[in-house]
């Protein structure tokens, strides 16, 4: 059966270049980067190259990039260690109600330890308001954490403007940006965006392997290490490096260099074709979140009232079409999406929401096939 993978914000297929780089790191350059001998040096070189490539991509120093086991670890690190660093100046944290759970849960944990948290709520379109942020910033605010793009709706949050506001109002507060979804889709210039102190990224959303990500920590912040017990990552994150992961990360990123805008246009075209197709072919379609450039080019969240999202997911599966309900990380939890709920969606739209997300590996022909099958599925399910 053919496979049409439209769940690229859950994860992406690893491109052959990345697989090759990983194989090489497993079979040829398999040394421990900490070893003194030649095997160690050639392994260390892979790490250095990837680190520099990421730094180049984000326009920061390679000394500011720390590899982690992925976006979740990067988010945990930033939230916990930032709060720890500044807790003597205050205990107020600002975040949004639409963050990924790897930000929300650590913050909830801090709430239990006596921190006070303000959750910014999104508009109907899933975008937070800078006015609200301004209002909520206080002298004792020590951390603000806002995602760059939401993983369920694709809605881009005004993080660059937020960075300015935070630094103008509260000189002290750290600003963390979870850029796991937007990395590789949108250019981020950290030299220009001085107000961003931490930024989390992950490889598996950009056709790299799972289990590898990184945290940008701005130089001079004096943040404490996340894992102790070794000299790796400048003593900030001990543990023998995930060399194959880092090699794959580097190779995946190489494909995106100088290519971000073209990439955006290509995926956006696929998404627009899809949205046009389902709107023309199916009655009663609700798009959750913005469709213009205020959203990532590859995610569309859509509800078909009368159809349960989970059932639609399985129905499409029989034709090899893979999509997601809500967000993959909690769609198995059996509860409705906290993001869509925060946006004030009505029950019917909530239960029926599915997320379709494209990548540059999808074709227009695949999109047309998917639209046709969406039409068939929704019609069949509504007739029951």
């Amino acid at each position: 059966m053919r496979e049409i993978y439209l769940d690229n914000s859950a994860t992406t297929k690893v491109i052959p270049e990345a697989v090759e780089a990983m194989l090489e790191a497993c079979q040829i350059k398999y040394g421990n980067p900490s070893s003194l001998h030649g095997k160690g040096i050639e392994a260390e070189k892979i790490i250095r190259e990837t680190r520099e490539r990421i730094a180049g991509f984000l326009n920061c120093s390679s000394k500011e990039i720390f590899f982690t086991s992925g976006g979740t670890e990067a988010n945990n690190w930033a939230v916990f260690k930032a709060a720890e660093k500044l807790k003597r100046f205050g205990k107020h944290i600002i975040t949004t109600s639409i963050e990924h759970s790897s930000v929300l849960e650590p913050i909830k944990e801090l709430e239990g330890r006596g921190f006070e948290v303000t959750y910014l709520s999104p508009s109907k379109e899933g975008i937070i308001s800078l006015e609200e942020l301004k209002r909520e910033l206080r002298p004792d605010t020590i951390l603000v954490s806002i995602m760059h793009a939401n993983n369920e709706t694709g809605a881009l949050q005004p993080v660059f403007e937020a960075a300015e506001i935070i630094k103008n109002i509260s000189h002290r507060a750290f600003f963390h940006v979870d850029a796991v979804q937007s990395f590789g889709k949108v250019n981020i210039d950290l030299k220009k965006e001085r107000g961003i102190d931490f930024l989390s990224i992950s490889a598996h959303k950009i056709h790299g392997p799972k289990g590898i990500g990184a945290l940008f920590i701005r130089e001079g912040l004096n943040i404490s290490p996340f894992l102790l017990g070794g000299e790796q990552e400048g003593k900030m994150r001990a543990g023998t490096e995930n060399l194959p992961g880092i090699a794959g990360f580097g190779a995946a990123l190489k494909g995106l260099e100088n290519n971000v805008e073209a990439h955006w246009e290509k995926i956006k075209e696929l998404k627009e074709r899809f949205v046009r197709g389902i709107k023309d072919g199916i009655r009663d379609v609700i798009i959750n979140g913005p469709l213009d450039n205020r959203a990532l080019p590859h995610i569309v969240n859509v509800s078909f009232p009368g159809v349960k999202g989970e059932v639609l997911v399985h129905f499409l599966e029989q034709w090899g079409i893979y999509i997601s309900t809500g967000s993959a990380c909690h769609s198995r939890g059996g509860s409705v999406s906290h993001v869509l709920k925060a946006m004030g969606l009505k029950r019917e739209a909530l239960e029926g929401a599915v997320r379709v997300s494209f990548s540059a590996l999808n074709s227009q022909e695949e999109v047309d096939f998917a639209v046709e099958k969406f039409r068939e599925a929704v019609e069949e399910l509504r007739s029951l």
Binding site: E310, V311, V313, H314, F315, L316, E317, Q318, R332, G333, G334, L384
Partner: protein, 393 residues
Amino acid sequence: MSGVILVRYGEIGLKGKNRIYFERMLINNIRRSLGDLQGIEVTREHGRLYVKHEDQPGKVIERLRRVFGIVSLSPARVVLLDMEAVKKGALDEVKDNLRSGDTFKVETKRANKKFPYQSPEINSMVGEYILKNIEGLKVDVKNPLYTVKIEIRENSAYIYSTSYLAPGGLPVGATGKGGLMISGGIDSPVAGWLAMKRGVEIIGIHFHSFPFTSERSKEKVVELCRVLATYGGPIKLFVVPFTRLQSEIKKNCPEKFYVTIMRRMMFRIAQKIALREGCTVLFTGENLGQVASQTLESMAVIERVVDMPVLRPLITMDKLEIIEKAKEIGTYDISIEPYEDCCTLFVPKHPATKPRLDEVEKAEENVSDYEVLVEEAVEKAESILVAPKEGVL
């Protein structure tokens, strides 16, 4: 590593002429359950089984504790029929477990009357030897902390001090074969376990409504069968495609009878598969009063469609008792994973709790050609042979 485990079986020893048959079956089941371990040898002697092995004792014990028919077991030391050897063996058995101040006693059974000492003599000689070698111990024959048991048998002596309880019951396969209607829920695996405990070999029959339910809900049932298989050996599972019938029922029948009619279709299909597989009964996890289809009236109307006896081991249990059992046998954590199974979709808001047979039969006629659909479901059922789950459960 080598050792012997003493296996006691209770009930099957009482079964008159069938005893040999049951014992043989138990031995076969033990051999099957230990089949992949090192150096297994099973022998029978005087109403006991002795399992010799060269594997990790913990692993062997863990497996044996899941074999129905076994009441209890004790890992034993085997020594030569020689008083010095018996003394040393007994000392080895206690020395890691007893500390200064503890009390113990020695209990001997001398089945082999050729052994030159009598039981009381052996008790005191071994007791003395232990007292001499470990400081600060005391003998207490009435209420000892620790009892060392010695059995003097035909060719060797066995020394042991710990017993593990096993589930009892009858060897799986000894009483027949039954079809278990298994959902992904908490109840049906427990019903299957109880059937197996009474010696029934089961096959699983599961109704799958893809794409209304996910591939994961099927995996969940396979996983449940893997746990059950650790008790009774590999289980044949039939996964019946049920979507077609379900949508026909939904399209053509009054909402309040969805569940009743759906269950009737399931029973029809289950009986056909069960007959083909040589089963004589059906088992379900039904439990009186738990949901609309489990009232006495519903069960009567549903059961009408089959000739086979339908056995419901959980019928009088409380939900909490079932949950307790599910936790004990290791199926609970799998059952509570949240994937929807086919019973939770297509559920009407107000199902009939006291359906009338004539009304249901009439409503059912609206599903034209349901016999054909039933037959089709039986034909298309996927059969999976599920092997026992590995590792510590």
